[in-house]
């Protein structure tokens, strides 16, 4: 395997007050230009990984151990200011909720360009031209009018396109997409996922894709890591995983996922024994998790 662009080593994130870990020694690698899916149920800590990379963890938690390597630089040992600058220049986020991610009282245009101008010292004209180019690229009709619109004047799918454009604006090397289509209709979700995949391939961006939906993962990712209670319990290549999931919990999760073409093998709840097994493995770790490749 080629040298990973993003490499997380034994990252542990805990609650400050009770020291309860939310991420337990998470390790993962993402090669340049690849897409890695992070899958898990709510509370598994999948969003926490993206937040740790971006340095936007909530106040109540802290990183207690581990390393985050991005493009051969270790993030956590950098001074805060330098780290922010480095992350700001090389990564971007596509958030879950397109409604709250845009400031409702400001026009769209400046919300896309200001990051380029303020943080990356672009010229205003250049930033404006780039924004228009990107809005074209995400297939927004009449981008000039949209630049002058307020968020409430456009539809949810359009807003998500704008956030995608905004994420790709500064040519980031890494994009973290945090459940970017959860709030959307299936038909819109399909368009948006195609759009993200196209842009990712064209710009050769590395993409960390956080989702709870195994169907979505199978469409956009090359690798995936399955999380349970803050622990990576399986990391696989995508076809391997769907052909032959190794961990019993992964198998159970796949069996619980609805498949309209195969009702017999869908919507089976994760059995109690499997939960007990995976919890025993995590909370009393005797050996390293054997299912990780």
């Amino acid at each position: 395997m080629m040298k990973p662009f993003l490499s997380i080593k034994n990252l542990t994130v805990s609650l400050k007050s009770s020291k309860e870990p939310l991420l337990r020694s998470v390790s993962l690698d993402l090669a340049a230009g690849n897409v890695l899916g992070l899958v898990g149920e709510s509370g598994a800590g999948k969003s926490m990984i993206g937040k740790a990379i971006l340095g936007i963890l909530p106040q109540a938690v802290e990183i207690t151990a581990g390393e985050i390597w991005l493009n051969d630089q270790e993030l956590l040992r950098k001074p805060a200011k330098e780290r922010r600058k480095f992350i700001g220049a090389s990564t971007a986020l596509i958030p879950q909720d397109p409604l709250t991610a845009l400031n409702p009282s400001r026009r769209i245009g400046p919300q896309i360009t200001e990051r380029l101008v303020d943080i990356l010292d672009w010229k205003k004209d250049a930033a404006l031209a780039r924004a228009l180019e990107l809005l074209n690229e995400v297939q927004i009709p009449d981008p000039e009018r949209v630049m002058h619109s307020y968020p409430h004047e456009i539809s949810g799918g359009m807003r998500q396109r704008i956030l995608i454009a905004s994420a790709f604006a500064a040519n980031p090397k890494l994009i973290i997409a945090d459940e970017p289509t959860t709030a959307l209709d299936v038909t819109v979700q399909k368009q948006i996922l195609h759009l993200i995949a196209d842009l990712q391939a064209r710009h050769q961006t590395s993409l960390l894709f956080v989702t709870h939906d195994l169907g979505v993962v199978s469409k956009v990712c090359q690798h995936l890591s399955v999380l349970y209670a803050g622990k990576v319990i399986e990391a696989s290549e995508i076809r391997d995983f769907f052909k032959n999931p190794k961990h019993p919990y992964s198998r159970a999760l796949l069996a619980a996922t609805p498949k309209y073409n195969d009702p017999a093998s869908s919507l089976t709840p994760v059995p109690e024994e499997v939960i007990a097994e995976v919890e025993a493995e995590i909370f009393a770790p005797r050996t390293e998790c054997s299912h990780v490749n």
Binding site: L15, S17, S18, E20
Partner: protein, 283 residues
């Protein structure tokens, strides 16, 4: 997770105990004032005017916190003043709350024409400068405890009305209201059984805050000589008097001010503390 919550809860408990303790002491003082006051709060003694508090040179034994310009004992007057302060706080606060919250609930839950009438009324009401309004009112209906209380209610009911209306409106859009309707609950029943328990925490916080504010309004009115008669000791009256002799006898101003400050603070903290302690929904 749970333990962490419990810990914050305990820390907030201290706030409740401190503020509640002060208010309890104050209530006890108000009830027992005639018996525990070291001196007669109304007795003047011009030869003992402007005596300093006990630790300063020139203090007289028995006048713990000194005397004012007419030789009246500051401590006794503060103790006696707590009666009116608490009366004003409880009666005016509760009356304001009842009127404002009821109208706010009706406007926020029933919406429609009831809301339009009440809200317009509130808008118009709030366009008057409140203190000026109170002064005018007291000037018309005369001074005395009753008029102070009426003045406070008249000034402040709109605050309750607006906040409770907004809260009832938010709660009214929740699905549990639709669910109660599906279950066959009557509109009025929904308001009382479903909405009210969810608005109560807000009302309680506002109510205790209002009790503090009522004391402050009484002080302000005293300042412009429109409170109870100037003989009856009120904290506001004492502060107003103390202002005139601040350079010669700062204690006449400072001690009632400290008590006033602690009391108003305790009221608001008590409300917040109650909410944290007894609201089943942890925010």
């Amino acid at each position: 997770m749970r333990e962490h919550r419990k810990k914050t809860k305990q820390r907030l408990g201290i706030r409740l105990w401190l503020s509640g303790g002060w208010l309890l002491v104050l209530i006890a003082i108000a009830l027992l004032a005639p018996w525990i006051s070291p001196k007669n709060p109304l007795e003047q003694d011009l030869f003992a005017a402007r005596l300093p508090p006990f630790w300063m040179a020139g203090a007289e034994p028995g006048f713990w916190l000194g005397t004012d310009s007419l030789g009246r004992d500051v401590l006794s007057r503060i103790l006696e003043g707590s009666r009116i302060a608490l009366l004003v706080a409880f009666i005016a606060g509760t009356a304001t709350c009842l009127i404002g919250a009821t109208l706010g609930m009706i406007a926020g839950f029933y919406r429609g024409w009831a809301d339009r009438i009440i809200s317009r009324f509130v808008d118009i009401w709030m366009a008057f400068p409140p203190v000026l309004f109170a002064i005018l009112l007291v000037a018309v209906i005369g001074t005395g405890l009753t008029s102070i209380i009426i003045a406070i209610v008249v000034i402040d009911w709109t605050r309750f009305c607006r906040v409770v209306r907004a809260e009832a409106m938010t709660q009214g859009q929740m699905d549990y209201v639709a669910s109660a309707q599906v279950a066959g609950q009557k509109r009025f029943g929904i308001m009382i059984a479903e909405i009210l328990p969810n608005v109560i925490p807000t009302i309680v916080a506002l109510l205790t805050l209002e009790m503090g504010i009522a004391i402050i309004v009484e002080t302000i009115l005293s300042f412009v000589n429109l409170s109870i008669s100037s003989d009856a000791p009120t904290w506001g009256g004492m502060i107003a008097e103390g202002r005139t002799s601040i350079y010669q006898a700062w204690w006449v101003l400072i001690f009632p001010l400290i008590v006033l400050f602690l009391t108003v603070l305790s009221f608001s903290q008590f409300g917040e503390g109650l909410k944290d302690r007894y609201d089943p929904v942890l925010r």
